[in-house]
């Protein structure tokens, strides 16, 4: 299908620029920018005056709940949520049920996703069998099946030797290792940041040192092994500083932060709002401000949604018993824009954290709106206000601390491979 996108504000996160230009799409690719190619006949014209045309969002962590956790959400609903949120590529963590430690499971997931023909899905393979932190997975086989990297999304494994060897093995093949820095024993039973709020509420705390102890071990072993490590979901000021120093010393590491963590602190738990039960926990305002500073100076490369749909039964429980996580695919864009506005950051710079930088983490070429590039686009209205409520979300997960809030930034059209996969009813 030939598509003409007229009068949009083209934002180039890579170049850091913005201009109003038309875009022409043919055969799944961008045929031209500015003037129509010779003999171009549009099958569909999108007049997007006033809207931003951006490369599609790349979400470094979105749980689709398949295989195994379909009672919480289905692939169909979450893939729909992704494109409704302007996400054209997403990475899904291996903590499914069973975990993605077998090539067959990965192939099935990729097949199912491909048949829906919406966003591109990049599965992460389990770093250890069953994610138990003991035995290595068949990383080469998993890579052939489609895994882009290998991960322990839960707490950092307790056995440092296994940690080191898994890095060594991954490096053999040039695979990246994605780790979430949280020491298992220091965070045992913890459900909230170990600080004044947890003290007042009588909640078991996860101290900052749970993150920094794990980070230190990971960084030292990464230096030892030369592994390419991506650090998932930083949460503390001290953690950001450790990553900053490591990057300054030239280590090939990258990091991300969850979109909710960019805005919220433990004070938002209020009187036990279980929607604020997140992993890692929301820490105090000082930590949150350091995360924002880290995003600004590049210590933190990307913002991801860490999309984790949980049903009502999982959240309507006393805080410590609730399932953790927040729905996020449809909030990634507005929360990124909110940060941009508050930090007075240009739109292109902010969008880079959810487009170009995530692609760099994945080792994929940058997102450009230029002839020959795949036509993965997100067209959105940056000014449109909408209320975060269950009816406004496609995801089966309605669990977000943002419920009831008004946010700015609504996706109007999403294109993947030159096909319009989402069209809002406007």
């Amino acid at each position: 299908m030939n598509i003409e996108i007229k009068n949009g504000r083209l934002v180039e996160p890579e170049a850091g620029s913005e201009r109003t230009q038309n875009v022409y799409i043919a055969d799944g690719r961008i045929a031209a920018v500015g003037a129509a190619p010779a003999g171009f006949k549009a099958d569909r014209v999108l007049n997007v005056s006033g809207l931003v045309v951006s490369p599609g969002l790349v979400d470094l962590s979105a749980r689709l709940r398949e295989p195994g956790l379909e009672y919480r959400a289905t692939l169909e609903s979450e893939m729909q949520a992704a494109v409704a949120g302007g996400v054209t590529s997403l990475v899904c963590p291996p903590d499914t049920d069973p975990p993605l430690d077998e090539p067959g499971l990965v192939e099935m997931l990729k097949f199912r996703a491909r048949s829906l023909d919406q966003a591109r899905v990049y599965p992460l393979g389990a770093l250890t069998q069953g994610l138990k932190g003991e035995r290595l997975t068949e990383m080469a086989e998993l890579h052939d099946a489609g895994c882009v990297a290998f991960s322990q999304p839960g707490t950092t494994m307790t056995d440092n030797q296994v940690l080191m060897r898994s890095m060594q093995y991954a490096t053999t093949f040039g695979f990246a290792v994605w780790l979430r820095p949280q020491d298992a024993t220091l965070s045992l039973d913890g459900v909230a940041h170990d600080g004044e709020v947890a003290t007042r509420l009588g909640l078991s705390g996860i101290p900052v040192c749970a993150e920094t102890v794990a980070l230190s071990a990971i960084l030292i072993l990464a230096r030892e092994t030369g592994a390419r490590v991506h650090l998932c979901r930083l949460s503390s000021a001290e953690g950001v500083e450790l990553v900053r120093q490591a990057k300054r010393s030239g280590m090939p590491i990258t990091s991300d932060v969850g979109a909710h963590h960019v805005h919220l602190s433990d004070m938002d738990i209020g009187y036990f709002d279980a929607n604020c039960n997140l992993v890692p926990p929301l820490r105090d305002k000082r930590d949150r401000d350091s995360l924002r500073a880290g995003l600004l100076d590049g210590t933190i490369d990307a913002i991801c949604s860490d999309h984790t749909p949980v049903d009502d039964d999982g959240k309507q429980l006393p805080f410590a018993q609730a399932q953790s996580g927040a729905t996020g695919l449809e909030l990634l864009l507005p929360l990124t824009l909110k940060w941009a506005r508050e930090a007075r950051v240009p739109l292109a710079t902010a969008l880079a954290r959810v487009t170009t930088h995530p692609l760099r983490v994945l080792g994929l070429p940058p997102a450009l709106i230029a002839p020959g590039q795949a036509a993965d686009l997100c067209i959105f209205d940056p000014e449109a206000w909408w209320r975060v409520e269950p009816g406004a979300l496609y995801s089966q997960g309605k669990n977000t601390p943002m419920l009831g809030m008004e946010l700015q930034g609504r996706v109007r059209h999403t294109l993947v491979g030159g096909r319009i996969v989402f069209d809002s009813l406007s």
Partner: protein, 316 residues
Amino acid sequence: MSADLQINTAGKLQHLLTTEGLPSEILLQILDTARSFVSVTEREVKKVPLLRGKAIFNLFFEPSTRTRTTFEIAAKRLSADVVNLNIATSSQTKGETLLDTVANLTAMHADMFIVRHSESGAAHLIARNVGPDIHVINAGDGRHAHPTQALLDMFTIRHYKGEFKELRVAIVGDILHSRVARSEIHALTTLGVPEVRVIGPRTLLPRQVQNLGVQVFHDMETGLRDVDVVMMLRLQHERMNGALLPSAGEFFKSYGLTPEKLARAKPDAIVMHPGPMNRGVEIDSAVADGRQSVILPQVTFGIAVRMAVMGILAGN
């Protein structure tokens, strides 16, 4: 994010969930009303018809005979109908959710729920999900709060010491795991007690506890100097397992209340304990049974204070 559930739009107490954030007027109203109920408990017919026709459900997800019995006695003395539900053995184990249990009971025309649960925030969760005519009293949720215990302790302090405004109060023991300690601290600071001290080893003090308005002491002899009220907390046996303490014996040596340590406090200082006591662990028998101990009166006052709470709530 959530507004204070406890106080309704008319400024009246709708639920009693925590002493935190309760204005001193409401705390004092409960204490003053409790005085009247003490005089009721001292006469032959210990009942008043105030809550006749009201159904009060004791929802104890965490077992406790003492507290449940106290609430039951208090409710019956108000002429209310009391239903005791020991949830640990009934529907909960069949997988019914907390809120489903509450919804079913509401359908049985409950007017008031008294809730004890092992998780912090349980009472708030229930209060958020009941209709406007139902009142919730938190009888203890995890480590978070035990407001009626704090209130009866405030009543006890006022009974023996008069004014709050010139007192030094020390709370000793496992503050980290104590819902009683948290509720006491909020009540004491709201009522204007100028010096609230917490005394314990570092492993048993929660992070940034001083932000609650207390002074922290690790040495009990120093911490008890010149205090007017000593509140001892119960030490649970499990604490030895989590690498928090080596032994009960060592704890008693440093933090147990003996006559010698008590001598550091003022000569007319009173000794309190929420019960049940571990003699020889946090408190020496000589002190528990001594002339400065008000541990038994605490129990009597507990009934009157709970009558006051129920009487005030049910009418709001």
